[in-house]
């Protein structure tokens, strides 16, 4: 199970791409990166979930933290590409509507 993410920053946008499994083992590392993203106060954040295969409640919690942090700063956040198991989890939790997936 690979756990990875990468962040690409431009002047207008920060793009976070999640890969493999975002779970209780990998979420703490991502959460540290999320703190850095929020602290940088980007005008727009795009979270690319297309390469993400699995997520658990810890992974969802990390994304909720990012979502709230960016929205509280009156910035824009978009989540794209959710599929299969991660999309099923967001639908089950009824977060697909909030995240506009």
């Amino acid at each position: 199970m690979s756990n990875s993410f990468d962040v690409q920053r431009t002047n207008n946008e920060t793009r976070l791409t999640l890969r493999g499994s975002l779970d209780i083992n990998s979420a703490p590392v991502l959460s540290e990166e999320i703190d850095r993203i929020i602290a940088a106060k980007p005008p727009k954040v795009v979270v690319d979930l297309a390469p993400l295969d699995l997520i658990d409640s810890s992974g969802v919690a990390a994304l909720v933290k990012l979502y709230k942090g960016i929205r509280n700063a009156s910035a824009e956040i978009t989540m794209v590409g959710a599929r299969d198991q991660p999309l099923a989890i967001f639908k089950l939790l009824r977060m697909d509507k909030v995240f506009n997936l």
Binding site: I24, L87, A88, I89
Partner: protein, 183 residues
């Protein structure tokens, strides 16, 4: 070893008693820490595939963890949350405890039992999700049991020792209400 069980009995003429093979339980004992979670998840995913008969995205790659089928998705999602619960709440993230797994694939269902000797869990402390979700009410925790319970057909918990979680998922003839496909 293959155990046989009766799955249906009809009194109508010309209809035979149906005997369906039920595999013997797969037993696995792992240390009750998150370090061993991926091993257990992989075993459960493959057991789910025995029941769902789901096809891999790449049939040549038998080693990849491929969870796309709705049945596999439900089983793996629920199992991950219960394993997390045991490692965090029962064993308090400490080493030394064990999780005993018994995984029984049958014709149209999968039963998973998890036994641990950690602290008992109080299911009553789990709060339901907010009725109306918006930016302010998005939960940042307490979702695991809700995910497991909703994904499964049956989930029971008996405080021990040993504590016993019993998870059951049946194949449905109706489409499972999970999000297959890309958004």
């Amino acid at each position: 070893m293959v155990v046989r069980r009766a799955c249906a009995l009809s009194r109508e003429p010309g209809v035979w008693l149906c005997l369906v093979p039920m595999a013997a339980p797969i037993r696995l004992t792992v240390p009750g820490t998150l370090r061993y979670r991926p091993i257990a998840v992989r075993v459960v995913a493959e057991a789910a595939r025995l029941v769902s008969a789901s096809v891999r995205a790449d049939p040549k790659d038998q080693l990849v963890l491929d969870v796309r089928d709705p049945f596999d998705t439900a089983v793996v999602s629920a199992f991950m949350e219960i394993f997390n619960n045991i490692a965090i709440h029962a064993y308090q993230r400490r080493e030394g405890g064990l999780i005993e797994l018994s995984i029984t694939p049958a014709d149209r269902e999968l039963v998973i039992e998890l036994r641990d000797n950690g602290r008992p869990f109080d299911l009553d402390v789990v709060e339901p999700l907010p009725a109306d979700l918006d930016d302010d009410s998005l939960p940042e925790g307490g979702m695991g049991i809700h995910i497991a319970k909703t994904m499964l057909d049956e989930m029971t918990y008996e405080p021990g020792p040993p504590n016993l979680w019993r998870l059951c998922k049946r194949l449905s003839t109706q489409p499972v209400a999970t999000g297959a496909g890309r958004s």
